[in-house]
């Protein structure tokens, strides 16, 4: 079976800086892959390349055997790539419920005309969407906050709301950008369980960028390591942990040897 997401010799340069250089990366269906590396290694740039925020300077990205060249982020979301953001980007003036509702745009059954006429079709559609959203929120124990403003949630809840919002687009591939940042130890354990759970429940692939090695090593089936935009290692958690290049890149950081 061909991989779901395939990056072939992808490079991107910003002026003189090569942020990502000749990167090869594959993610199969229903696979959980980790992407790690020191600060500034180019992890978020890989996300931005995959979601169409940046176009690669060289190389080819394909999703489900289709080239993603020149496709805008909203088109890629339509194809099935959803993401969360490192610095949380929720819709600040909307409630928790509406944050998720906005993300169901792709699958709504009505347009302007139905919204103006407000007929039976429209009301039935809105009702279905509403119950689907509540169901999703309940999975993440966010149902009780449905009418609160997104900004009033705790940091951990905001991170989880971002995941709910991304899932509402019904993705095939979910990109999580440091979902554990700012979470305490018990929240991290809960998050690991949750990522596993949504991967199985929604039958999706997950690409995880994360600094917390316990989280990455604990749940990823395969890990790719970036350093200065170059992939220096790839393999199972055990292999990556033992790789001398990886240890060198993380020199002085003990986390890797845990």
């Amino acid at each position: 079976m061909p991989p779901l997401l395939q990056l072939e010799k992808v490079s991107i340069r910003f002026g003189g800086l090569t942020a990502v250089s000749e990167l090869d990366l594959q993610i199969g269906a229903h696979e959980l892959v980790g992407l790690i590396g020191p600060n500034g290694a180019g992890k978020t740039t890989v996300f931005n390349l995959t979601t169409g925020v940046y176009q690669p300077t060289a190389g080819k990205i394909s999703f489900g055997e289709k080239s993603t060249a020149r496709l805008r982020p909203n088109k890629l979301a339509k194809l099935g790539i959803a993401r969360t953001f490192q610095n949380i980007r929720l819709f600040a003036s909307m409630t928790v419920f509406d944050n998720v509702r906005a993300a169901t745009q792709l699958h709504r059954a009505h347009g302007i005309r139905d919204a103006l006429w407000r007929g039976r079709h429209f009301r039935a559609g809105e009702k279905t969407v509403g119950s689907q959203i509540l169901e999703l929120l309940e999975i993440f124990q966010l149902g009780k906050f449905r009418d609160s403003f997104a900004k009033s949630l705790s940091y951990g809840d905001q991170r989880r709301l971002e995941i709910v919002r991304a899932l509402a687009t019904k993705p095939k591939l979910l990109l999580l950008d440091e979902p554990a940042a700012g979470m305490n130890a018990s929240e991290k354990v809960e998050l690991m369980r949750l990522i596993q759970f949504i991967k199985d429940k929604f039958q999706i692939s997950v690409l995880l960028v994360e600094h917390d090695m316990k989280v990455v090593m604990g749940i990823c089936e395969r890990i790719a390591v970036l350093d200065y935009g170059v992939k220096i290692a790839e393999g199972t958690p055990v292999e990556v942990r033992a790789n001398p290049k990886v240890i060198e890149a993380y020199l002085g950081e003990e986390i890797i040897s845990e």
Partner: protein, 327 residues
Amino acid sequence: MFLARPRIFLLAALAASIVLGIFQNQLDPYFVDVLTRIGINIILAVSLNLINGHTGQFSLGHAGFMAVGAYTAAAMTMFAGPHILPATAPEFFTALWFLAALLAGGIVAAAAGLLVGAPSLRLKGDYLAIVTLGFGQIISVVFRNIEPLGGALGLNGIPAYTNLFWVFAIAAVTVYVITAMVNSTYGRGFIATHDDEVAAEAMGINTTRFKIVAFVIGAFFAGIAGGLYGHFTLTISPRGFDFTRSIEIVVMVIVGGMGNTVGVILAAILLTLLPEGLRALGGVSPSLNWISESRPLLYSILLIGLMLLRPQGLFNFRKSGKLKIQN
């Protein structure tokens, strides 16, 4: 909240405007004059609120769209009207032709909105404001140089078709269309575009489309408001649709609270009444005459005070996440 049941609101408002239209002749002409201007300002403010408030773009060109609509509608009733309608045509046909003229004004203005909306795809905030400002100026210059439309002197002798029925029926339709559209899953796309374009795109929302739709629909209603205005003042000139007119409408949206339809309606009413109120207050006794004379100054001071005390808008009681003080 009346916006929760939009269809009932629409029917009630249409019925009320029919009643207003029937009793217009029994009302004091000054009162009718003020009411008409309130209604037109509601249409302008609510439609600009779609662009500046809900969708988060910054347009300073609303008076330009209004001018396009005003000239188009006036041309239809003044020049084309007499050829199509015989002098003895019953009132019903005149009304129908007026409606057609208003719609034509709206459609031409919407086309202008499409033109101005296009740069908004690449420009944000201040930069977009300057482009729309430039658009307003261009419109003004264009009309100043079209001699058949009166050039710099403008058009005189536009038939007095505008009455309270038309003004408030169209105001009701404007409020209905914009709130019904925004308050739907589809409509969340406007708000998402306003809140965070990058996140909205990543969630599959075509922000380009939403911005263009906002400009086109906003301009459409501004064009209709222009048509109503022309058939109310009976004379239009390019100067009447300059930059200060756009600012007036922007102020209504800001005072009402960006994206808050009820607030924007109340602000449109309040800011239309305010100069009238100050004038009336000055007329009470000679010792209060200064109020009447320093109206523009008092108006400006009130606006400054308002922005200092309630920057989120006078009528914005909703606790918006963005405006909440972070603790």
